[in-house]
Chain length 145, copies 2
């Protein structure tokens, strides 16, 4: 794996944050009033906005993370795999290198298969697979227009 | 601006963190014993490692950030411009959209021109220009091999 597919920012007001990043020039096809999630179609790693509460729940159903901002800083990075078994392999690899598995890979509500690990400084990475994703010729996620 | 050029992780041990990310598959040309900074040549936004103390100083010479991890979470994103005047323009744009200027653009020790702002949730962005940078045909930074 030699790519970062997504940067997810946990935000308090997704509509206001969408307007902020659109104002800065980030391309977004979603203009709905109450979006559950926002993907920008930018160059480089795609920027994603997700309500902070939901992001905390995605990592930790018990939401113990929420109480301590020094434990979870609100940002996750994602490596999105093309095969499901790569999720398990990358998680084990991260653990073998000194990372900490925070959430073992499991099938999640949106149909994907996803886990989280922390790097040596406690930064969060999601490793995820979904049937529906499409990748460009640089193995980067394609955002639907 | 419709891109994220760099993700910088403030790390406590840059050599160990380099080994961690190389182990995960991230390509790195720098194998020196005491690197001041590390750039990976990955797909998408380039991953950068920088000592956390140095990153804090880069944002805030007074280092008041360091004392409160809920104020600065250790991660910055960078938009790297092709023209110096774009730095000032983007900083003012971010402010007009409700962002907060944390460090006004100034010429910095490595020869670039750089400032920082916070988005609506307090996430840090650097806006920077340097003569020496080269960009690919998608306006993404090229990392020297």
């Amino acid at each position: 794996m030699n790519r970062i597919n997504l940067i997810t920012l946990g935000v308090t007001d997704i509509v206001k944050s969408r307007a902020f990043y659109k104002g800065l020039g980030f391309k977004c096809y979603d203009d709905t009033a109450n979006p559950p999630i926002i993907f920008f179609d930018n160059e480089g790693t795609k920027l994603e906005l997700f309500p902070l509460d939901e992001l905390v729940k995605d990592i930790d159903k018990n939401e113990s993370l929420k109480t301590d901002r020094s434990v979870f800083n609100g940002i996750t990075f994602a490596m999105n795999t093309k095969e499901k078994h790569e999720v398990d392999e990358l998680m084990l690899l991260a653990e073998s290198l000194g990372g900490e598995i925070v959430k073992k890979p499991e099938t999640v509500f949106w149909g994907g298969y996803s886990g989280y690990f922390k790097d040596l400084d406690g930064y969060y990475w999601e490793v995820a697979y979904a049937d529906s994703w499409e990748f460009d010729d640089q193995d980067m996620l394609m955002i639907q227009s």
